[in-house]
Amino acid sequence: MEALFFWIFAIGMVGSALAVIFNRNPVACALCLVGTFVFLAALFITLEAFFLAAVQIIVYAGAVMVLFLFIIMLLDIKAEKKKPIPYGKIGLVIILSLIFGFFFNIVLNGLPNGQSILHWGTASTQDAKEIGMILFSKYILPFVVTGVLLLVATLGVVLLSKREV
């Protein structure tokens, strides 16, 4: 079961990601990105991180991507015209990918836990509560600071989007 769901969601996610980078219309890109996030949330669930999956959907797919779409509409960005294939750039990408692939290989082979197999049922379903407890006891400082950060971000956005300073 684990394998089946994993492969479905993995392939879906990779397909959506590829669609993001190959689409010419920015709205289509954004929607594909939403799809990517949804598949990612599903993958979180296969990893038994239920709370995080919910947070991913709510924040990323629900807030961030909506914001993206607002901006695309605001700026009225048109679909890109067909341009010739930039072989140089693609060659560069392939080379870099190979390099990073090589590094990934080294990492994956060196991990001590790399071969441990996924089995469902071992994790707690109460993880929202658990995370909440840890968040407000051990990680209270980062939590509060993040709150301040959000305030600052809000102020920043308001300031930045003024027409006249």
């Binding site: 980078i21 995080l52 947070v55 993206f68 750039k89 994956l108 441990s116 959000l150």
Partner: protein, 108 residues
């Protein structure tokens, strides 16, 4: 055939790597600022996936440190997207273009 039926940590990490590289390719290839920003988000999410995978496969029980980290990452990413998009809007108002090749006044 084991790698098809038995999902290990390595699978999730490889997936995270592939996602990261797709995002990287997008940043290098795409010309529109907004799409580049979206690919940036892809890279962030790849990191998130890796962290959650590590958390799931860690030997200690009831260890949610990885998930807490992802929680914070998501929050900060959201704030960052807001500010970044405000910047892009200001830039668009100034330059009237979103093509990244036109935004080159900082050259030598």
């Amino acid at each position: 055939m084991n790698w098809l039926t038995e999902i290990t940590l390595n699978h999730y990490l490889a997936l995270s790597g592939i996602l990261f590289m797709i995002g990287m390719a997008g940043v290098m290839i795409r010309r529109s600022i907004l799409v580049i920003y979206m690919c940036l988000e892809l890279m962030l999410n790849a990191a998130n996936l890796a962290l959650v995978a590590f958390n799931r496969f860690s030997p200690a029980a009831r260890d949610y440190d990885g998930q807490i980290m992802v929680f914070f990452i998501i929050t900060v990413a959201a704030a960052e997207v807001a500010v970044g998009l405000a910047l892009i809007v200001s830039l668009y108002r100034l330059r009237q273009t979103t093509n990244v090749n036109d935004l080159n006044s900082l050259k030598f």
